[in-house]
Symmetry: C2
Subunit: 462 residues, 2 copies
């Protein structure tokens, strides 16, 4: 795995609008997260002077559910702060360990397959039009055999997609507005946001920094980042991410067995996000379907993004077992299939060619090398913070390091790190109130950047 010069790397490894100009917030990357209202004040991502008194307005009411979301916008707020920082320090060598975006080139065995498929589309024999919305058969089969071997997951249980985040929203469309849901707190913001959008929640409650009608399952060092299920109210849907973004912790077999039993007792559906499973070092389950009975209560979503650097190529999948039934006995997979067919048209055939190459013996080896590289980054970050006396979580099973700053506001810590080291991290409270007092440091970065960032951390906290 190569690493670039500091100069080049300082421009940041990410091409995303995470680094967008503040003036065009409208275009900026918006992975939105509930934010505490106080430090933000007015949401800067909303105001533009479109609605002068003279402007024509339609008589179409704005969707009240989307209006609820306005309380939070994590990444644009970070982008705003970063831009302000760059204005203050125009020559700063800013390093981003914030957003979890891959930085290393995709192995050639994979890109060659995509290039080959591209060229083939110019030939009569190689051209293909609409593919099956559920994905190409060989890819579905390869995903089933690579990730779910001996787990009785079949090719037709796999739905190939343009990414796990997109599938989460499609799942929410399947569930509709009349379900209740639980999330780990802290958690990846797409679960809560998509729930709000579908109208499953109440308003944002500033005092507690939570949306009404969502069950927040607190995950802290005290409970080993696994919720105390005895205190968790029944919900229809339980979003559960392991290895977890942002805490980096992975649930054990015993814990997942508890979770499946909990779902079974409550008649709930678990949406299990395993997008970081290949980063695991220990022998905890890679899939929820390793737990007996899980196929009757769980869906699993995953992605090539963090395995093969496909964040921009777009390819993921979701497993909806035939055994998973709604209360009336109707298979969930049939409704998911209906949504996939009606609201989606399949992942790009070129991306799918890349996915198939990922799962060849050479592709798997290459993916493991990339993952190994990021895991080395993780170790460097963990060792750095540990050497400085911090309590550090995660890292072992995920490319995220969850650093504890007990008693401190995570936004304050974020700001101090940015101000004094020019390194962008992510404030833990952006992932929910349970993230307060933590900062997430991502291991996605060129080696030189990670080393330089750690050097600066050591200077700051020595």
């Amino acid at each position: 795995m190569s690493s670039s010069s500091l100069l080049q790397a300082s421009i940041s490894s990410s091409s995303s609008a995470f680094f967008a100009n503040t003036k065009i917030n409208f275009n900026s990357r918006a992975q939105n997260v509930s934010l505490p209202a106080k430090p933000l004040g007015v949401c800067t991502c909303v105001a533009t002077p479109q609605s002068e008194k003279t402007a024509f307005k339609t008589q179409v009411s704005r969707n009240v559910n989307i209006a609820k979301l306005q309380a939070g916008y994590l990444f644009p707020e970070i982008a705003r702060r970063r831009a302000a920082h760059l204005q203050k320090y125009p020559d700063a060598q800013v390093i981003s360990l914030g957003i979890g975006d891959t930085t290393e080139p995709i192995p050639e065995v994979i890109t060659s397959a995509m290039a080959k498929r591209s060229h083939a589309l110019s030939t009569l024999e190689g051209y293909s039009g609409y593919g099956a919305e559920q994905g190409e058969k060989p890819l579905r089969a390869a995903i089933a055999s690579t990730f779910y071997d001996n787990l009785d997951i079949e090719e037709d249980d796999i739905f190939v997609s343009d990414g796990a985040k997109c599938d989460i929203s499609r799942l929410q469309v399947v569930f509709g507005s009349n379900v209740t849901m639980a999330v780990q707190d802290p958690s990846y913001p797409a679960y809560v946001d998509s729930s709000v959008i579908m109208g499953q929640t109440g308003e944002y409650q500033k005092a507690v920094e939570k949306f009404g009608n969502i069950e927040y399952m607190r995950c802290t060092p005290e409970n080993g980042f696994f919720p105390d299920l005895r205190t968790v109210a029944r919900t229809d849907i339980i979003f559960f991410c392991s290895p977890n973004n942002p805490t980096g912790s992975a649930a054990t077999r015993e814990q997942l067995t508890q979770l499946v039993q909990f779902a079974k007792d409550n008649g709930s559906i678990i949406v299990y996000d395993s997008a970081y499973a290949m980063y695991m070092s220990d022998d905890n389950p890679r899939s929820i379907f390793e737990i007996p009975g899980a196929k009757e209560v769980a869906i699993e979503t995953s992605s090539f993004s963090k395995y093969a650097g496909f964040t921009g190529v777009r390819l993921g999948w979701t497993v909806v077992p035939k055994q998973l039934l709604f209360s009336d006995g109707f298979p969930v997979a049939k409704d998911f299939n209906r949504i996939v067919c009606t609201c989606f048209n399949g992942a790009s055939n070129i991306s799918q060619a890349g996915g198939l190459a990922c799962l060849s013996p050479e592709g798997l080896k290459a993916m493991h090398e990339v993952i190994g590289f990021y895991k080395e980054n993780t170790n460097i970050i963990v060792e750095t913070f540990e050497s400085l006396g911090f309590k550090v979580y995660g890292g072992k099973n995920a490319p995220y390091v969850w650093v504890h700053f007990p008693g401190q506001s995570s936004w304050d810590v974020f700001s101090e790190i940015l101000e004094k080291t020019h390194v962008v991290t992510t404030p833990g409270s952006g992932f929910g109130p349970g993230g307060e007092g933590f900062v997430r440091v991502s291991a996605f970065g060129h080696r030189s950047n990670v080393l330089e960032a750690c050097k600066r951390f050591k200077q700051l906290y020595k």
Copy 2:
């Protein structure tokens, strides 16, 4: 443009599951369409014996809106009939002019750009991770200048996506469940289906073959396939496709001016689908934004699918002008942006490289050649049916020919054509009750297939 041997072509030009095995209906292509209940009886796409009495069921209720959809499934039903046909005639040389799927290779200037981008992803300089969800700036700029030059549509009004069908669903998520909507009747089924899914409609009413709470704007030869707006009730949203799928007709400047005024009078939002605009032969508007004032009442969605053979590559766009406001003055574009950022992660970077190449001078020339090829197909089909004494609509401005069989059931006609010529078409009533008595013949096909199909039509109807 090359054409293949009959033998090869007879396998059909489409790779989609349109031709799926009946036994795996679950996996079959399901562009769903309201069907008259009578000829179908039990929906064959639903039943599998998952829900035996012993099976565990969750306590999660099935989404009632999705359950409403079960009345219709056009393309799987056609696939079932086709499969049954092949069982009856195992050696039949079946030709598909049914689903509108492109068949001709993508010009090399476009695939080379995609291959180049693929290879670049293996280099440090060429690698990119997450892109802006709204699309890459150069592509947004190229779309704005190519399709909306002099129309005051700016780069940041353009949202690049994985296709118009996907954007239609995202727009429905923006609108939510509390809006009313109108569609042309007949129309592309995704409008109605996505409306049903979002809970905007009532139940399917078998007697009239319509969903409750949708305004069906009848488009017939009598009104020149443009609705009599004096008889159309006010709705919040008006889906309008021109050139139209399935009728092939394009609205005139005068008609679109009426439509925009109608929307303005009612405070409605038009979702204008212009996915076939490049197929137009006459000088009717290519974009709704050619109509003065349209930016205050309209969204436009379009696609590279039928221009560049990107049905499998996946690339489209939607224009949401800043000037379009909800009743409270909030810009629609901001909520669309929020949904794009939360429920989507951008089109594949490789597909976007292809899109950019499409809009280069060479790419545009190549696209026009492909479109010209399909337009020749259209002429062949039109001439064939006209020579046989049929009244034929469409064709001139769209790759669809809308053949009138007055007084006949379009399903009966479909069946007779399949039985006697082994050609798959699409029954007009699958696009809504207004399509009864028509059959849609698609011009997407290898030349040899189109010629052979027309030869058989001539034998059947001579």
